[in-house]
């Protein structure tokens, strides 16, 4: 290898990486814009696609139903976007982390985008952009199953599976009517393809986990792999009945028939679909959540501090906003009852209360998150705090020594513990 070749390789890698980073930014902005613009349409479509009688029978309003499902979809998009952005921000120099960032951002938007822009409902340009996001999401999502965590294909032949998958999806998404399009194949064949590709991916991960990974890698990746597996398998359980029996999604029947049969059948049917959609969205959250756990608890890619801060301040902002809203509402009621007015007083009082609560609440949330994800650090800190309390109360050297030994054994768990006390004689 010549010096020229050596100097060229990193440069070309760097160029590719820069291009990939730029592509991620473009795709992320595209996802945010497509989803944001489509929210009113999604809400309207959800309301139009449900039988109002069954929603009413459940004790809900159409607005409540639409808001609930829209909120659920947006939560999924947001969770994927946040984790994807953090991974990109801190680790976009690693190919596999960049692939994960792509997969998170695009996969989180797959379901909402398919509902917002069903085939033929938008302009060709918008459909093309949605197709692009879908393509990137599906290719990177399945590729992760073959590449995670080190970015190498193990076994090596699995690279052919990913290349074939990318090719299949290219036709399915951009040329859906071509003979090579997966979408044009008979449903059993489509299912077979999905089962084979995800099955081989699961086999590759299992093989890697059992035969290749070190104990540390296993610890770091087990949650992430669980998330990947559920992300691949989860939607099967929900979509399969719709693929086989599309009528499941069309609940509207003439009122005379509805009244003849009675509402319970239709209400239960809606409840079933609603539970299914809730379950599906919660299952979709497992994908980002499992990476969150892997990053926080097992220090995957060492970006736990950023995630920790994000969690703390997101929870803090949410809690304070909730307290503020409830506080203003309650205090306004109280002051109006007492003085006949009091909007301003309520706002000022609540704002002051919020300001006073900021630090204690932040410490409390930090403690909860540390306890949940940083058990070792939390236990050690607690043990040291207990020990310092003991030292303050004990005057006997023997007792202090015993307490010190105990705390070291409990927290560090060494094979052997002993204390050497330097004998300080009088006058020395």
């Amino acid at each position: 290898m010549t010096a020229g070749q050596v100097s060229l390789a990193p440069s070309s890698i760097s160029k590719r990486l820069r291009a990939a980073r730029l592509a991620w930014v473009v795709v992320t902005v595209l996802v945010v814009v497509l989803v944001s613009l489509g929210v009113p349409g999604l809400y309207a479509r959800l309301i139009a696609g449900v039988d109002e009688r069954s929603v009413t029978d459940l004790g809900w309003s159409l607005a409540g139903y639409g808001s609930y499902l829209t909120g659920l979809y947006l939560l999924v998009v947001l969770a994927h976007l946040v984790i994807g952005t953090i991974v990109f921000w801190r680790r976009s120099d690693e190919g596999i982390a960049l692939a994960l960032a792509f997969a998170l951002v695009c996969n989180g938007a797959l379901l909402p985008l398919s509902l917002i822009y069903p085939t033929g409902s938008a302009s060709a340009t918008v459909q093309l952009l949605v197709g692009l996001v879908t393509y990137i999401g599906l290719v990177t999502g399945l590729s992760l199953l073959y590449l995670f965590p080190d970015g190498h294909f193990i076994p090596r032949w699995t690279r052919l599976m990913v290349i074939a998958w990318a090719g299949l999806l290219l036709f399915a998404i951009f040329l859906p009517r071509s003979a090579l399009s997966l979408a044009a194949w008979p449903i059993p064949l489509q299912l077979l393809v999905l089962v084979v590709w995800s099955g081989v991916g699961l086999f590759a991960q299992l093989h890697r986990y059992l035969e290749v990974s070190s104990p540390l890698q296993r610890q770091q990746t087990k949650w992430a792999i669980l998330g990947l597996v559920l992300a691949v398998l989860g939607p099967f359980g929900y979509f399969l009945p719709f693929v086989i029996l599309p009528a499941l999604s069309d609940p509207e029947v003439p009122n005379i028939l509805y009244q003849r049969i009675g509402p319970s059948l239709f209400t239960f049917s809606l409840l079933f679909r609603l539970s299914g959609l809730t379950g599906l969205n919660l299952a979709l959250l497992i994908f980002p959540a499992s990476f969150l756990v892997a990053i926080l608890r097992y220090r995957l890619w060492d970006i736990d501090v950023i995630i920790n801060r994000t969690l703390v301040y997101a929870a803090l902002t949410g809690s304070l906003a909730l307290v503020y809203l409830v506080g203003v509402a309650v205090l306004q009621g109280v002051f109006r009852g007492l003085t006949g007015q009091g909007d301003q007083i309520a706002i000022v009082a609540t704002t002051l209360g919020i300001a006073g609560m900021f630090n204690p609440l932040r410490r409390r949330i930090q403690a909860v998150i540390d306890r949940r994800f940083y058990r070792r650090r939390y236990d050690a800190a607690r043990a040291l705090a207990t020990f310092s309390g003991t030292v303050q109360e004990e005057v006997e050297l023997e007792d202090v020594s015993q307490a010190l030994l105990r705390v070291v054994e409990e927290t560090v768990q060494p094979l052997q513990t002993s204390i050497w006390l330097r004998d300080i004689g009088p006058g020395s």
């Binding site: 009688r53 009413t56 029978d57 009244q259 003849r260 319970s264 059948l265 239960f268 049917s269």
Partner: protein, 289 residues
């Protein structure tokens, strides 16, 4: 050790629940299948079905405006699927024409009477959903006209899937036996003679037969979502006049200008009733308290 034992008990509990559930599903399925396999031996009185244009026109009027047959069987009466999913099963309203998959070409006059009035098929097995418990009281002349019109329908090919009830639908039948109308009809009971057409409450009651499906047996409305309004005095039409009632059913607008949802109240069908028929119904509503 304790955790392992707890998991064992939990698994045992889950297995027992699943077994109980499976047993329940099995018995529900068996019970409904037995009820649907029953054969009803119903002596059908011979009926003369006219074929003159007047009778066919009367039959068309009854089918399309009075008894709402198109709501379930489709605009061309060629049938349509109502359910086709794993939970509810496969249920369709039959193709009434003589086209492929239709009963028009195979039903005799007696078979039509058996299906409409008694809610059973050619072999005497019960139909489901068919509101025969309401249509049992249709007079012979009108039933003859309805059959004459159905026999005159242009054939439409529409093969519909065989009935296969899912668990939800079976549970619905368990909670409401009238979904198998043959079970709730007194097939040999007396049938009061149908009133002569006229502008009177008695004929209005006869015309309002199918209205009771949504508005309840005494037209006092229902509590279910989408149920019909309370049409009795002091109900949901307290200040309405006869003219307003007729205007609402003709135009789909209430006296205060609000629209009537055609998906809930089929006013476009009812609005085609003649003035005399609407007046008769109005007179009948005035008698309800």
């Amino acid at each position: 050790m304790r955790i392992r034992r707890s998991i064992k008990y939990l698994l045992l509990l889950a297995a027992s629940l699943i077994a109980l559930l499976a047993l329940g599903v099995f018995f529900v399925n068996r019970s409904i299948e037995q009820r649907l396999a029953r054969t009803y031996e119903i002596p059908i009185e011979p009926m003369e079905v006219p074929s003159d244009p007047g009778a066919v026109a009367r039959g068309r009027h009854l089918v399309t405006t009075v008894f709402f047959c198109q709501e379930c069987h489709g605009e061309d009466l060629a049938g349509k699927p109502h359910f086709n999913d794993p939970l509810s099963g496969t249920v369709s309203a039959k193709n009434l024409t003589a086209g492929a998959g239709g009963v028009g070409g195979i039903f005799s006059d007696t078979d039509w009477v058996r299906a409409i009035r008694h809610g059973v098929d050619q072999e005497g097995h019960p139909l489901i959903e068919m509101p025969s418990n309401f249509y049992y009281y249709i007079g012979d002349t009108d039933l003859g006209a309805i059959i004459a019109f159905l026999k005159s329908l242009p054939p439409v090919d529409n093969e519909l899937p065989e009935r296969d009830l899912g668990l939800l639908y079976q549970l619905a039948i368990l909670s409401d036996p009238s979904l198998i109308p043959a079970e709730v009809i007194d097939h040999t009971g007396p049938r009061p003679p149908a009133p002569e057409p006229g502008v009177n409450a008695e004929y209005g009651k006869y015309l309002a037969t199918a209205c009771t499906i949504c508005h309840g047996p005494d037209l006092s409305g229902g509590s279910a979502a989408g149920a019909g309004l309370d049409l009795t005095g002091g109900g949901n039409l307290p200040d309405w006049t006869e003219a307003e009632f007729m205007h609402a059913l003709r135009t789909g607008q209430r006296p205060r200008g609000e629209d009537i949802d055609p998906n809930r109240m089929p006013w476009k069908r009812v609005g085609k009733l003649t003035d005399d028929e609407l007046r008769a119904i109005w007179l009948y509503l005035q008698t309800l308290q």
